[in-house]
Symmetry: C2
Subunit: 212 residues, 2 copies
DNA sequence: GCATGTGAATGATTTCACAGCT
DNA sequence: AGCTGTGAAATCATTCACATGC
């Protein structure tokens, strides 16, 4: 009987690494590579080969001993493990600079993330066209999200409005939030929030650079 | 003799947490709070209070026993620990949607990050105005960065051009790179790269949502 | 009494090293 | 011979619990 991978003991930190592996594999496939070893992947990513093998093993046995991994097969299994083997419906809240840029970003659609609407509360912005979507008033948000079974909301509003907007998202039944506003959101358990703060990302640089 | 905090044994993961603490403290200061305990901070951030104290202790002794931390003082010490107690000169490469949005983002300047120029290779974009800067041709990049002692480059170009652009950045003497392109950059040691991939951030959500 | 700062204990993650398969 | 998958060892990080000081 084949061992069933148990998702409960996947280390948190392994998940973003899996995404990086997938990125590399997609690139390799474009380059025409059809088979690869953990060692070769490790060289390209500057990580330890055993770590790659162990990370993959949390999700299943994808390789062949003595041979390596089939690139196409591994892409398909990783995509499935990361949940991007299907389309996700996503809306963007905040049609400012960042929200508009996100709405237009092609990389999302390529990975199965489909921005189906963009919302704002500013009457000056509502009705304008952003990336083949008309900016909708935030008042339409909850019914829209309910009706269209939207699973993901991307919050690109100011720190002041973010908490309020997050409540609407939860009210509408959204299951995951990617939050660019620099505030810690408090949401119901069962709703997953990924907090992304661009200034914080720059601080990671300055921390390392500060005394050179 | 006071113990000197030894930066070599600061856990990697503590650094982004420090940035979160700083964010909270800035917010508390706006709310008029002047003193806080690790417990109160822990409650607001949903983390363990001992972790906050230990993280802070990697950088010094900032609190008073029996009393807590002075918010203004802790902000100043954290800012210094994270290297944002001064202005950083930054340029943006890529004047597409994301690059333009980043150039206009006000949050950067508030934390001391000063975008002093934006570059692109597309003649259709060069010369246009983005957030009070004229988009400059990439050919001017290396001399500009050298002359102005730019320390940080933000890469917001396609995956295809990113490696090339990173080489230019290093050639110009940039010390830190924030890379939004979904490729692993290989740069000289001593240059610090923070890789930020927006699709990957969404995958963190879908991983958790995939079977609900 | 109250809250910090920190060794010591626990827990998590990474790396090693090798059995097992091709 | 070459490479995966994985227990066991080593390393790294978090939490406990309490001495120390206000």
């Amino acid at each position: 009987m084949p061992k069933q991978p148990d998702r409960t003991n996947v280390p948190q930190v392994a998940v973003p690494r899996m995404a990086r592996y997938l990125r590399l594999l997609q690139r390799l496939q474009e380059e025409g590579v059809s088979r690869i070893s953990s060692r070769q992947m490790a060289d390209r990513l500057s990580v330890n080969a055993a770590q790659i093998r162990k990370d993959l093993s949390y999700f299943g046995e994808f390789g062949v001993r003595g041979v390596g991994y089939d690139v196409a097969y591994l892409i398909s299994r990783l995509s499935s493990s990361l949940g991007i083997d299907r389309e996700w419906k996503m809306v963007i809240i905040g049609a400012g600079q960042l929200g508009s840029a996100l709405a237009r970003y092609r990389g999302f659609r390529e990975e199965g993330f489909d921005s189906i609407a963009i919302f704002d509360s500013d009457p000056k912005v509502i009705g304008k066209k952003v990336a083949n979507h008309i900016v909708r008033p935030i008042s339409e948000f909850v019914p829209f999200v309910r009706e269209n079974q939207v699973q993901i909301a991307v919050i690109a509003v100011t720190a002041e409005s973010a908490a309020e907007v997050a409540n609407l998202a939860v009210e509408g039944g959204v299951k995951g939030i990617l939050n660019f506003a620099p505030v810690q959101l408090k949401v119901d358990p069962g709703i997953f929030v990924n907090q992304l703060d661009l200034s914080t990302e720059l601080m990671l640089l300055t921390y390392h650079l500060r005394d050179e």
